[in-house]
């Protein structure tokens, strides 16, 4: 069974440029998450989807970050314009619906460097 797939794995951009990350969750997983992991830190939630609905986006910097999950499957996270402080690993994760006992499965991450 395929895991959570993310692309691109690595991206280097100049500040003020836009960037987008794509995520394909595990088949059948209705819940999708985007986390950001800064160097030397644990992951922090940016946004959580239940199917197509963003049920928690309280930590998403909405002035420059946006996300969408059309048709309740794949998701895209966009940053525009990027700032130096956005350099981090962006992790997508998914889990089945139905409770917090379910395991959350992570992709390998998209490593962003803003120069």
């Amino acid at each position: 069974e395929a895991g959570v797939v993310q692309s691109p794995r690595y991206k280097i951009i100049e500040k003020k440029q836009p960037v987008a990350f794509w995520c394909n969750p595990i088949s059948g997983h209705n819940t999708l998450y985007w986390y950001r992991q800064n160097l030397g830190q644990g992951p922090e939630l940016l946004i959580r989807y239940e199917n197509e609905e963003a049920v928690d986006d309280s930590q998403l910097p909405k002035d420059r970050f946006s996300a969408e999950r059309l048709k309740g499957v794949d998701s895209t996270l966009k940053i525009q314009p990027a700032e130096l402080g956005d350099s981090a690993v962006y992790l997508c994760a998914s889990s089945p619906s139905g409770g917090n006992a379910n395991t959350i499965y992570f992709g390998e991450g998209s490593w962003l460097t803003v120069v």
């Binding site: 644990g42 992951p43 922090e44 994760a93 409770g99 959350i104």
Partner: protein
């Protein structure tokens, strides 16, 4: 609100020695507890989790963790580590029930030396 404290940012240890990675959490409600491992340049993989029942949980590769409610701890242990255990380990907590997000600690880097 839940929070997680991992007391050691780095733990160096020699191969075949025992290791304990410490994790404490704070929560006013019942929680589920998790340990994830992150190998270099990879995503996070679930190592083990505590949901309910026996307070001692084990993983398939020799790690174990014990839930201690009175001390609000969920320390990770292995009696004999291998070079291949070198990785970063994250403790995480999630509120029991149907809502709530996974909250991570800052991680502990385990370095196993020959």
């Amino acid at each position: 609100a839940q929070s997680v404290t991992q007391l050691d940012s780095q733990v160096p240890v020699f191969e075949e020695a025992p290791v304990e990675l410490r994790c404490n959490y704070s929560s006013s409600v019942s929680v589920y507890l998790f340990w994830y491992v992150q190998y270099p340049n990879q995503g996070l993989q679930l190592l083990l989790k505590y949901l309910s029942g026996s307070t001692l949980v084990e993983s398939i590769n020799g790690f174990e963790a014990e839930f201690n409610k009175s001390q609000t701890s969920f320390h990770l242990r292995k009696p004999s580590v291998h070079i291949s255990d070198t990785a970063e380990y994250f403790c995480a907590v999630r509120k029991g029930g149907s809502q709530g997000n996974l909250i991570f600690g800052k991680g502990t880097k385990l370095s196993v030396k020959p």
